[in-house]
Symmetry: C2
Subunit: 365 residues, 2 copies
């Protein structure tokens, strides 16, 4: 059977190895496997969220409230926005997908950073549009972005700050200045999946969605419950923008795209600010240990505004070999060779997990 | 900002009214609201599933196993198929979406029954392809399907059996015979969302996915955990087909499309056959009461092979008025006037819920 031509060359996305596979493949006990590969919150999720979800498991039989009244009210309060400025997605991934499907088509171009979140590329390929990339790796080179924008006239520009998988962040004032130069018919997506971390570390990096939306009519801001809120498994993200943009995305939203339990989990998570604050504090305390370790071992790092850190190696050290060696010892990290970098991305874990990482990496070095 | 032209005329999908809205709008106590509008399992979901999910709420922080090893193994056992024949979606909705995106484009035609599951139409519009409909309402007229197929050469044909929102089912032998006349480059989707019910009631309606897939290279079978398995809120469905079809759909699948808790819920639900059997038995026992009621009241019904029943009215009785009157008394059912029918669709509920429906409808009649 023939399928659409543009999907012929799409490679099926393969996520990280689940712990079970590592257990099976390398004969390591499950309790000895440490996964620092997916930037999950090492503190898990709020006990209040767990309790709330436990209390409503009988509701699994009931379709989700597709108006998402409670969660949208929570987000509206949090960001001082209105219902009409909010759309909820199955992870912020889904908002990326909706934005691309609504705005772009197979003749479109999409402009992204040289190294950035893989899903911009994945969803662009789904509809066959062309990806234009800057040559930047460890930070968004907004001058180059502007040059490429002028040259290619893309339908969408993705700015990821803090950037994944590198961890750097762009100053908010530079983002605002850049967007002010972009034509109103180009959609600029500002992906703030890790913004809670950046905001804590450096107020210069903090982007307020409300300010962004009030200033620009062509911006979509993305956030997620998968990181600081500790709900990576529940698939809840959101897009914030002017009502006319949100309305268009809504047209393509699959009904009931968030599970009944996920809606409750995210709503309660939003209210437990203490959990989020503690997670972020622990994250940056532990991050210092990574910085010290890297300093001692003369390994380059990219300064991180997220819950992960990127370690860059120099020949003959090779990130793929390093990631493989760690994997055989039960330590799962993300090799960035697929992004053209000789680097690994490591989620900042709990103190003992990070100690284990240092220990195993030292063994190898 | 300009968006893709074909989405301009899409109407935003609006799901049924959540119970909270009825409570607010009509001042009815929440405990007095009965929702028989979404074909949810009135028995809820298996207590084993509830326990399993309660036990892993801490895992909400962890990304789902994107290989879906456990659930796929369960489905492979259930249907005597291989992993490569299975794709899991966020509801079978998502498999519909993937099939349309993979196979069709804005120049395509999609052939469906006159009255059938709304999502075929919704997702076709998302990419701007043309929907061809038969004039059939209460059953698939396969002769007309064939005539329209010859005339329009659609890329996809959707056969929904049992059909939603009418409840009738097509004989398996007719489905097989029909597909044997269809060119191999047309994808035939057989949507068996309610098949567990049909299979129990009449073996002539039972379609075995394995047989379908072995016989035809151009078929995709859909199933769901939302109905008989009682997991409408968890968004898990599946597509079964030959490996080459599944592989194409996989290319467009959003990674991590099923939540961590949903994967566990569906895996455990699949093993609790007792729960499913009891639900289906109760359903058809209660269905008899609807049939008797309709008979006594001289209301036409469509014979149903599902967990809902469609009551057809004759002028001057009007389904919209009836649904509205019931709603004001706290009874939520589905008015089918939007499908061009003077009918309401009522989910077969628990005995007391059904009694209440009879009581309220009698008040009105």
């Amino acid at each position: 059977m023939k399928f659409n031509k543009h999907i012929e060359n799409i490679k099926t996305y393969e996520g990280g190895k689940p712990i079970e596979l590592v257990v099976r493949e390398f004969g390591i006990k499950p309790e000895d496997v440490v996964k620092l590969a997916s930037n999950e919150n090492p503190n898990g999720c709020s006990s209040k969220v767990q309790e709330a979800v436990r209390n409503i498991v009988a509701n699994m039989a009931l379709y989700p409230d597709d108006s998402m009244m409670k969660l949208k009210a929570g987000l509206a309060r949090r960001f001082d926005l209105k219902d009409e400025n909010i759309i909820i997605g199955s992870g912020s991934d889904q908002i990326i997908e909706l934005a691309i499907h609504a705005k772009a088509n197979k003749d479109s171009k999409v402009l992204v950073n040289g190294v950035t979140f893989a899903m911009y590329d994945v969803y662009s390929k789904h509809i066959g549009c062309e990806i234009i990339k800057t040559t930047s790796t460890d930070s968004h080179d907004l001058e180059q972005f502007y040059t490429l924008y002028k040259e290619h006239n893309p339908d969408i520009i993705f700015l990821c700050t803090p950037n994944n998988p590198t961890g750097d962040a762009t100053d908010a004032k530079d983002i605002f200045e850049f967007i002010s130069k972009i034509d109103n018919d180009t959609l600029v997506v500002v992906d703030g999946a890790y913004m809670e971390y950046a905001k804590y570390k450096d107020s210069n990096k903090a982007i307020e969605p409300k300010e962004l939306i009030e200033k620009f009519e062509n911006v979509l801001y993305l956030g997620t419950f998968s990181k600081a809120y500790g709900l990576g498994g529940m698939r809840v993200g959101y897009g914030l923008g002017r009502a006319d943009i949100i309305k268009q995305l809504y047209k393509l939203r699959p009904p009931f795209n968030i599970t009944t339990l996920s809606l409750e989990a995210a709503s309660v998570a939003l209210e437990d600010e203490e959990f989020v604050k503690n997670s972020i504090e622990m994250n940056f305390n532990e991050m210092k240990r990574y910085e010290n370790f890297a300093n001692e071992q003369k390994i380059d790092i990219i300064e991180s505004y997220t819950n992960f850190i990127t370690l860059c190696f120099v020949n003959p050290r090779n990130s793929t070999d390093i990631a493989d060696a760690l994997l055989k010892r039960g330590m799962i990290v993300r090799d960035l060779s697929g992004y053209g970098m000789n680097a690994i991305r490591v989620t900042v874990g709990k103190p003992e997990q990070n100690s284990r990482f240092f220990e195993l990496l030292l063994e190898y070095l």
